[in-house]
């Protein structure tokens, strides 16, 4: 139908309620979670097959849905495969962790159905070769994430956060739809390749710039670019921790990646305009995220603001529009997904055992839960960009790319922000690990082993990528190359005509 990994995700998502119903009848509450984890492994297997196909394809691009030349509903290059791998792997960690974490909640069948739907949506977005196809998968991702944020509906906070997220995200989606209608009005097509080809001549077209502004605002809401970020801290802190990890680790990055793909392909002729705009937004996003993170006493809210700051770094890398910058950003997306998933899952373990997110009450929890505490410390040191952990390399690569692109002021501001972020990361380590346990912390017991396994693998990855970054930088470089190779992307469809 679409491509094997996407088909697998969609079909297995549709089958989840049936599996859950049978499992509940038999009294096996953990089956939906195990089924969802197995589904993601199946999708990862198919994705590996697709990767092999992309490797041998002409120009490294596989088109699907209908035959070339017109069948470019899906256009899969190395960038698409790279991002899809990240979604599936992070999704797998979150799902495995959820089996124990969510065991006391009701509606688990719906939970895993929505989780698979969200991952399918994100995968569809990076596979899309047509704006309308992208929008349909965008809706799938958004819709499922609204319900997942508000999943623990018996409390007021998730409902409020979900509603805020729904309103803001719907406004963003409507803005994208308006931009799409303008693009269709100008070119008579929504196919990315044809749009890239048609708008090459539109350098002085005023309406192109209006459409550009709408695209940046529309995708910017999901990418949590300041000032469109206000939904994120509420949604990330109110959602169940595995969902916070998914939202923070990969979903907001999907917004940034969709934005940069559309900008590079469709608005290539307006590059000078959006490059500077993106760089300015990136700096606002870094400062907004870091300054707000300094003020937080809520563990998950602090991590949410740190995500905003990291998105600023990622967007700055994209704004350099260079191979180095894109490589650095994609490498940081990988690292940030690993580090932030680790931190949110550790936070989830602390919160599950103490029933609080308040840092004042969580003092010394690392001494009571030493294994989780060590993993949390590894994640925090990694995201604070201390060598030799993974965060150091990608953040330094972003700075280096900025300097090479002669964006010295922006690079300096990025460096200053990275230094600023160390303050609250070290505050986290001091509170969680070094201080004496409070009464609340002392009541906690150790986290279950099944929740520690994903944490162990993620912490290992932080160290492993840090000491052996070569293959991961290489993969990011290939993905960046695919993202920049606009002619090959357009040629894969239009060259066949």
């Amino acid at each position: 139908m679409f491509t094997p990994p996407l088909d697998a995700l969609l079909m297995l998502m549709v089958a989840t309620p049936a599996v859950g119903w049978v499992a509940y009848k038999k009294g096996y509450r953990k089956v939906p979670g195990i089924y969802a984890s197995a589904s993601l492994l199946v999708a990862a297997y198919f994705l590996y097959g697709l990767y092999k196909e992309v490797e041998v394809a002409e120009n490294g691009i596989v088109t699907r849905a209908f035959d070339i030349p017109l069948g470019a509903c899906l256009e899969i290059d190395f960038f698409s495969v790279f991002m899809a791998f990240l979604y599936i792997i992070i999704g797998l960690f979150a799902t495995v962790y959820s089996i124990k974490f969510m065991e006391r909640d009701s509606g688990l069948t719906e939970y895993y159905t929505l989780m698979l739907g969200m991952i399918a949506g994100m995968t569809g977005i990076v596979f899309a070769g047509d704006f309308f196809t992208l929008f349909v998968f965008w809706e799938l991702m958004c819709l499922t994430s609204y319900a997942l944020v508000a999943f623990r509906k018996q409390k007021w906070e998730p409902i409020e956060a979900g509603f805020k997220y729904l309103i803001m995200s719907a406004a963003g989606s409507a803005t994208i739809l308006l931009a799409m209608s303008f693009l269709y009005g100008m070119t008579g097509t929504l196919n990315f390749a044809a749009l890239a080809d048609g708008l090459t001549a539109a350098t002085s077209e005023g309406w192109l710039y209006i459409t550009l502004a709408l695209v940046i605002v529309g995708f910017g809401v999901k990418a949590a670019i300041v000032p469109f970020h206000t939904w994120l801290p509420d949604a990330h802190s109110a959602a169940p921790s595995p969902i916070s990890a998914m939202l923070s680790g990969v979903m907001v990055q999907t917004g940034a990646c969709a934005l940069v793909r559309v900008l590079l392909l469709v608005f290539n002729s307006a590059q000078p305009a959006w490059q500077m705009t993106l760089a300015v937004f990136a700096v606002f996003t870094m400062f907004g995220g870091n300054l707000m993170a300094l003020l937080q006493d809520d563990l998950k809210r602090l991590l949410a603001f740190s995500t905003i700051a990291n998105l600023g770094y990622i967007i700055f890398g994209f704004a350099t529009v260079s191979h180095d910058g894109l490589t650095a950003s994609l490498f940081h997306i990988t690292n940030h997904a690993i580090m932030k998933t680790l931190l949110f899952l550790c936070a989830g373990a602390f919160i599950r055992q103490t029933k609080t997110r308040d840092l004042r009450k969580l003092r010394g929890i690392g001494k009571i839960m030493p294994v989780t505490g060590v993993f949390f410390a590894i994640g925090t040191i990694a995201i604070a960009a201390f060598p030799p952990l993974n965060g150091f390399w990608s953040e330094m690569m972003i700075i280096a790319a900025g300097v090479r692109a002669e964006m010295i002021i922006f690079s300096t501001l990025t460096l200053a922000n990275m230094a600023l972020s160390v303050v609250y990361y070290f505050r986290l380590i001091r509170i969680i690990i070094l201080e004496e346990p409070t009464k609340v912390s002392k009541r906690a017991t150790k986290a279950p082993v099944s929740m520690l396994i994903p944490l162990l693998i993620l912490a290992f990855l932080c160290v492993f990528i840090g000491v052996y970054p070569g293959p991961f930088i290489g993969a990011s470089s290939k993905a960046a190359e695919a993202l920049l190779n606009i002619e090959a992307y357009a040629d894969a469809v239009l060259g066949g005509l």
Binding site: E110, T113, L114, V136, L143, A147, E205
Partner: protein, 93 residues
Amino acid sequence: MEIDRIGVVGLITTVFAALIFSTLIVEYEFPVFKYADPDQPPKLVESETAIIGQEVSRFLWDYRAIDLIAQAFVLFAAAACCTALLRTEERKK
């Protein structure tokens, strides 16, 4: 009465944006299908046919089935969302 400063700034910005947008609509004519002309240089890719725009748009109207299939999954997800949020609570003791 207490004035919400952020609200006031938001209102002014919205009115300002609406004014700019209205002015643009009145002042600049929308280039309807101007860039759908396949002969208009410069082109990103050399193509043997002269009707790329029309071909692609015809395809868009004729072959939206693939998006409709995806839309069916969106509807399924919407139903799952409703079930999740309207479920009766049975938290395990």
